[in-house]
């Protein structure tokens, strides 16, 4: 079965609010995670990654938090914009050769 999963299939937010997308993983040995964004009809795009030696990593308007104790990570998007509407995937990249194991995805819908 999948080693990563997502808490909610759909998340609706108002434009300008912050969004939090959650992901749980089951393998305590997993040490590398990546977030991808997939717009409708397109291939996924890399957003940000985090390794297990970090608890937090920030990018442009995005922050990823990793809690190894409960095997949980989250993607926070600040000041969500309509262009952020997409499906977001967390992926476990611990397998080497960039063989990623993707979760099912969370659809983020941004409303004006």
């Amino acid at each position: 079965g999948e080693s990563v999963g997502l808490h909610l299939p759909t998340l609706s937010v108002q434009e300008g609010d912050n969004s939090i997308i959650n992901c749980a993983y089951s393998n305590s040995a997993s040490d590398y995670f990546i977030w991808y964004k997939q717009e409708s009809g397109k291939g996924p795009q890399f957003i940000i990654d985090i390794r297990s030696n970090m608890d937090k990593r920030q990018g442009q308007r995005v922050t990823v938090l990793l809690n190894k104790t409960v095997k949980h990570l989250s993607l926070q998007i600040a000041a969500t914009q309509p262009g952020d509407s997409a499906v977001y995937f967390c992926a476990d990249g611990s397998g080497g050769y960039n063989k990623l194991i993707f979760g099912a995805g969370t659809r983020l819908a941004v409303h004006p």
Binding site: K42, G43, G96, N98, K99, F102, G103
Partner: protein
């Protein structure tokens, strides 16, 4: 700059027919290449990956096969399609090992009837 091309973008095939999806990468050398499948409303499942010409690793047992006849060409094939082969097929490449950053193509949507 690097680009990745997949074709065809859309394909409708009858059960039992053969399949060939092609992927080419431009602007890079010796990339790792990947085929993923995405079922409707689901995450991506890794089907095959390749670290070099003629080197194919299969991640799940299935009705599909992959080949890499040239450094920047990756082909996904089937001799006889099943209904369960329907899905969105994505080719991807990476260069840097273990960075997690894959560059995906636009995908090929296959419907098997």
């Amino acid at each position: 700059s690097q680009t990745i091309h997949q074709w065809p973008a859309t394909l409708v095939q009858p059960v039992g027919s053969p399949l060939s999806l092609e992927c080419t990468v431009e602007g890079t050398s010796n990339p790792n290449l990947y085929w993923y499948r995405q079922a409707a409303g689901r995450g991506l499942q890794l089907l095959f990956y390749s670290v070099g010409i003629g080197q194919i690793s299969s991640e799940v047992p299935q009705n599909l096969s992959a080949s890499r006849p040239q450094d920047r060409q990756f082909i996904l094939s089937s001799k006889k399609l099943l209904l369960s082969d329907s899905g969105f097929y994505l080719c991807a490449w990476s260069v840097l090992p273990n960075t997690g950053e894959l560059f995906f193509g636009e995908g090929s949507r296959l419907t098997v009837l």
